[in-house]
């Protein structure tokens, strides 16, 4: 009996890939890694490098030599640090408001609402994400206008609070979605078990609901926090005279690119610190 050993080229490649899992993996990952490297890591490295260049104050041209001047400036000037603190505060405020709004909303969607209406509610939460960012922010600008706005005299006016309010509106879906998923996982008997073992509603909330939801809230906060820290358009439109880090970058990147790069390092550092903190709590590993 003769065995047919002739292989078409296509089959030969299939056989090779079948025998070598490493080759398979390389093939699948290469495009993504090239993309990540070229369009994400390289620009980030260039940003870091640019922060240590300087600008000729007369010609306005970049001088390509090492200079820590911009970075030291950013890190020691009180006005910049105040802006950084205000930015972090706004991001923290947005995140806290999003958690407060998302918890009852997601609880209703996941546990109280009828199963048939869940997809509709989810779609309603997601719909604002399909609208243009600028349209939404302009809508809030009109809503919050101190004079002639829809809120009239009740408007808080343009400023830091208006920024927090608008950003909360913009990023809320990013908090609702993970919290909804987290609460859905509690559809089993966990809440009944807590009550059965003697926990009053508030005790059950603290000892079972919050710890079980921590990873979901952490995931949502990564979005709300980082999106808020980097935002500058909302601040321009409803922030009044207040500025955040993004505005400093935006105002300087055409005239003094190295300085803008140095400012841009601040949110980067804040986000890195934030992610490390969250990682420490172990919330990310339970996502």
């Amino acid at each position: 009996m003769s065995v047919d050993t002739t292989l078409t080229p296509g089959r030969r490649v299939q056989a090779l890939l079948h025998r070598r899992p490493a080759l398979r993996l390389t093939g699948l990952l290469t495009p993504a890694l090239v993309w990540l490297g070229l369009f994400y890591l390289v620009p980030l490295a260039l940003l870091l490098a640019t922060a240590f260049f300087d600008t000729n104050s007369f010609t306005g041209r970049i001088t390509y030599g090492f200079s820590a001047k911009n970075v030291v400036d950013v890190l020691t000037t009180p006005a910049y640090l105040l802006t950084a603190a205000r930015t972090v505060g706004a991001a923290a405020g947005v995140t806290a408001l999003c958690v407060l709004l998302a918890l009852p909303l997601a609880t209703y969607m996941a546990l109280v609402a009828r199963e048939r209406s869940r997809p509709i509610l989810l779609a309603l939460v997601l719909t604002p994400l399909w609208a243009s960012y600028l349209v939404k922010v302009y809508a809030w600008r009109i809503l919050l206008a101190p004079e002639g706005g829809l809120l009239g005299g009740a408007s808080p006016g343009y400023g830091w609070f208006a920024v927090v309010l608008t950003l909360t509106y913009l990023w809320l879906p990013y908090m609702v979605l993970p919290v909804y998923a987290g609460i859905s996982s509690m559809r089993g008997s966990y809440l009944e078990a807590a009550a059965d073992l003697g926990a009053r509603p508030w005790q059950a909330f603290r000892s079972v609901v919050m710890p079980m939801l921590a990873p979901a809230i952490a995931a949502g906060s990564v979005f709300t926090f980082s999106l808020s820290i980097g935002d500058y358009i909302t601040v321009q439109l409803v922030g009044g005279t207040k500025q955040m880090l993004g505005n400093l970058v935006y105002a300087n990147f055409s005239t003094d690119l190295p300085f803008a790069a140095a400012v841009a390092l601040l949110p980067l550092l804040v986000m890195a610190a934030y992610l490390i903190t969250i990682r420490r709590t172990g919330a990310l590993s339970r996502l």
């Binding site: 966990y190 009944e192 807590a194 009550a195 059965d196 073992l197 000892s207 079972v208 921590a214």
Partner: protein
Amino acid sequence: MPSVARSVPVTPPQQAGETPAISLRGVRKEFPGGIVAVHDLDLDIAEGEFVTLLGPSGSGKTTVLRLIAGFEQPTAGTVLLRSRDVTAAPPFDRDVHTVFQDYALFPHLSVLRNVEYPLRIAKVPRAERRERALAALATVRLEALGDRSPAALSGGQRQRVALARALVNRPAVLLLDEPLGALDLKLREQMQIELKEIQRTSGITFVFVTHDQDEALTLADRTIVFSEGRVEQAGSAQEVYERPASAFVAGFVGTSNVLAGADARAVLGRDGSWSIRPEKITVTAADHTAPAGWTTAVGVVEELVYTGATTRCVVALEAGGVLSALLLNGGGNDLPTLARGQDVRLSWRPEHEIHLM
């Protein structure tokens, strides 16, 4: 009734003068849409009793458990725990703990901290908490796994952790909602023995919901058979099995072997529905004469089901009707060459004919 009378002692439903652990008085539960899960139920469960609620799914047995735990409010009637009216009390205000069907172990807590949970809620001091939780884990033989996450346990281990957690604070009543349903047969039998042992030594009242009749009969002092939201029969394993009160109980508990109507008249010479347990029936060759006084009928073997220790022999009777006989595959079998299509004679003592209401 010769053999039935020599039964194992049965805890009476309520000893005189003693308050029952649980009393349901005229309890009715309707769900939206007019579905009545429980019809006007009166039930007393004595202190320290092991009761199983047995029935097919949808018979209302789990609803009864949830009414006792406080997860459901009755539409009418009262629930008493040790003569305290808890009808409107929330679950955390009842001295009742539950072992859930899906165990409901908190995934963010270690095994030990899961077991400590009810003690932590009850504000038991830290050292005592630890000691009692370890003792509870020891009773289910899991003291070595306290640091594990529940996710790292097997089904049987999770079941035992859930049991330890529900027992650690010594509730007046322990409710178990089909806790062994997800385990394989061997593990289930082992857990049944352990449960019985724990119940005996702890003296806690156990209410155990199951749809498995063997499990119900094995575990319980008293089995309460449910069907469509009503109690069909309540009694010891022997009573429920040997003296089924209705055709439903006869069919649900053990193999249904009912002769009714024309078949009953032809074979037994009596009217009504009659049940004969398969293991009470003797199978012999058709030309064999039955012992004096026994009821007898001839028929053809329709089916033989070999299951290791026993063989089930389904016989179509000449006079009408079908009966199953259970033969022990022992050494002294009269009919080693039983085959399909063979003519056989079935015979049994008349006292094994049970009239069904």
